[in-house]
Amino acid sequence: MKKLLLIAILSAGSLFAQVKGDIEVPYISYQIKMGKGFDAVQANCLMCHSFGYIINQGPQSREFWHKKIEKMIVHFKAPITKEDEKIVTDYLFKHYGNGKLK
C-alpha cells in the first residue's frame, strides 16, 4: 500500500525554476547526528519529512519524542514497527533530548 515517494533528489537544479514548468525544490542535507538507531530513523522518518523537521523541534523529553512517534503511527498512519518505535525514540532522546524523561 506504500506509495513510493521520490526522496533525496540531490540535484543542483535551477533554484528559480518556472512555476509553469517542472518545479524543483532544493534538497538540503541537514546535519543530523549519527549513532545507534540512525538506520531506523532514516528508514522510518525520511519517508515523510526531512531531518530539518526533527532537529528544528528543539531539545525534548523522552516522553515528547515518544509521543511524536505515536502521532506518526496513530494519526499519520506511518508503518513503524513496535521494535523501531523504541529504537527511534531512544535515538531521538539520546541526540535531541533534554535529559528529562517527561
Binding site: 526522496i7 542535507s29 494519526h75
Partner: protein, 399 residues
C-alpha cells in the same frame, strides 16, 4: 549549489535552539530572533530562514515587517504533507465543487478568471504557531521566530459566488477544502479543512493572484483559499476540491492539531493540560517591529524611525504604542492604514537616542475592541505554542 553551501544552510537553521528548563508552570518570553537566512533559495523565493526542505518550511526575516505588504519572494512557506505536485498544467487544472450541491461544478482556471466577478482583499496570513519559540518548556512543533506571517493583496473570486452557482442543498452545513498536496502513504489523512456555512462571508475568496502576480508555487499555486482574519491553517493551498456535507467529518488537522484550551486565557500548564480544547480560528491583536533589529548599532543623537506592522482579525487597529523605558510609559506611533481592516497597519515612531548603551524598543498594538497585546511574560502557556502575541521587543546599542 555546492555541498558546502548545503551544510551551512542546515547549520544555520539548526543553530540557536533554546535550551529548556522544565517549568511546571510554563513560561513565555520573546521568540527566538537570532536565526539567519539560509544561503540557498527555494523556487521563486529569495533566501529565507529554512527549517525543512520537505515539506518546505521557510520563515521571513524581521526586516519584512518594516513594510505593509510582504513581497512574494520573501513570504513565508509552510506545508504539512511532503508530496507536492511539481508541475501544474494551467490549461487542464480544475477545481471541483461537489457533495450537497444542486449541480456539481468543475471550473477551469480560465473560467474562474472570466466567468465570475473578480475581487481583491489585502489580508494578513499568519501561522497559528508563529512565534512558537517564545514558549518554555518548548511546545511541540517547528520553533518559529516571528516570521511565519505576511500580508499580501489577494485577488480571486468569492467562494460564495461559486457556491451559489453550484446551488447548496437544504441540509448543507459544512464545507470541506482539500488541496493537491499528498502524504507519503495513502492512509495518511489529507490536509482537509472544514468551515461551517455560517463562517462564510464575502471576504472569503479563492485566490489565484498575490500582489498582482500568479500565486508563488510554494504559496499554493494555482489556487488557494483566503480567509481574512483566520490563521493560515484554514487557508488551504493548491486548492482542488470543495465538498459540501451535512455532517462534520472528524479531521486530524482540526480535531487534534491546531487547538488551544477552551478557557478564557486559552492556557494551561505542562503538568495539567486543559480539556476541552477548541480549534484556533480568529487571530488576536499583534504587532512586530521591522526596524531597527536586535543587535543593531544606532548613533547617539541621531534620528531613528522605528517601523513595524500591526494587525488583528479584522476589527482593525486603533493604536500602536511604543515604549523606550521597559513599558513604564508609552507613546503613540503614527499609523498608516491604506489596505483595509484585514491588512497590516504600518506604524512609525520617531526617536532620538540621548543615552549611550543598550536601548530597548517595545511595541504594543490595541485594536478597535480595546484588546491589547500583553507583555510576553503575561501570556499563558499552551501545549501547541499557538497564538503567541506578546509585546515585541528590539534591543539596540547606542554608540
Amino acid at each position: 549549489m555546492k555541498r558546502r553551501e548545503f551544510l551551512k544552510t542546515s547549520m544555520a537553521a539548526s543553530a540557536a535552539i533554546l535550551g529548556t528548563t522544565a517549568l511546571s508552570a510554563g513560561e513565555t518570553h520573546q521568540p527566538i530572533d537570532t536565526r539567519k537566512v539560509s544561503d540557498m533559495a527555494f523556487p521563486e523565493k529569495r533566501p529565507l530562514i529554512t527549517y525543512s526542505d520537505r515539506p518546505p518550511l521557510l520563515e521571513s526575516p524581521r526586516s519584512t515587517f518594516a513594510r505593509g505588504i510582504t513581497e512574494n519572494d520573501e513570504f513565508f512557506v509552510r506545508w504539512h504533507l511532503p508530496d507536492i505536485p511539481t508541475y501544474i498544467d494551467t490549461d487542464s487544472f480544475t477545481i471541483k465543487i461537489d457533495g450537497l450541491v444542486e449541480k456539481e461544478l468543475e471550473i477551469s482556471l480560465k473560467e474562474l478568471k472570466n466567468d465570475f466577478e473578480q475581487v481583491e482583499v489585502t489580508a494578513v496570513l499568519q501561522c497559528g504557531g508563529n512565534s512558537r519559540s517564545a514558549f518554555t518548556p518548548i511546545a511541540g512543533g517547528i520553533q518559529w521566530g516571528s516570521g511565519a506571517m505576511g500580508c499580501a493583496k489577494w485577488k480571486g473570486v468569492r467562494l460564495s459566488d461559486i457556491l451559489n452557482r453550484a446551488g447548496l442543498k437544504k441540509d448543507a452545513h459544512w464545507i470541506g477544502f482539500n488541496g493537491k498536496d499528498n502524504a507519503a502513504y495513502y492512509e495518511t489523512p489529507n490536509f482537509v479543512r472544514e468551515l461551517e456555512i455560517e463562517e462564510l462571508n464575502d471576504h472569503v475568496i479563492i485566490a489565484y493572484e498575490m500582489n498582482g502576480e500568479d500565486l508563488p508555487y510554494l504559496n499554493g499555486f494555482p489556487l488557494r483559499l483566503v480567509i481574512p482574519g483566520y490563521y493560515s491553517d484554514s487557508w488551504v493551498k493548491m486548492l482542488s476540491n470543495i465538498t459540501v456535507t451535512n455532517k462534520y467529518k472528524s479531521l486530524f488537522f482540526m480535531d487534534v492539531a491546531y487547538r488551544v484550551p477552551d478557557n478564557k486565557c486559552e492556557c494551561e500548564t505542562p503538568k495539567h493540560k486543559f480539556k476541552p480544547t477548541k480549534p484556533i480560528t480568529n487571530m488576536n491583536v499583534k504587532s512586530v517591529i521591522g526596524y531597527p533589529e536586535n543587535g543593531m548599532k544606532l548613533y547617539h543623537n541621531s534620528h531613528v524611525v522605528v517601523r513595524g506592522v500591526a494587525f488583528d482579525d479584522g476589527h482593525g487597529i486603533r493604536e500602536v504604542l511604543v515604549s523606550v523605558n521597559g513599558g513604564k510609559t508609552w507613546e503613540k506611533a503614527e499609523l498608516k492604514q491604506e489596505n483595509g481592516r484585514y491588512a497590516y497597519t504600518e506604524f512609525r515612531y520617531s526617536y532620538k537616542p540621548t543615552k549611550y548603551g543598550k536601548l530597548t524598543f517595545m511595541a504594543k498594538a490595541v485594536n478597535r475592541l480595546g484588546d491589547e497585546q500583553p507583555f510576553a511574560k503575561d501570556i499563558g502557556w499552551n501545549h501547541g505554542g499557538y497564538k503567541y502575541n506578546g509585546i515585541d521587543e528590539v534591543t539596540v546599542e547606542v554608540v
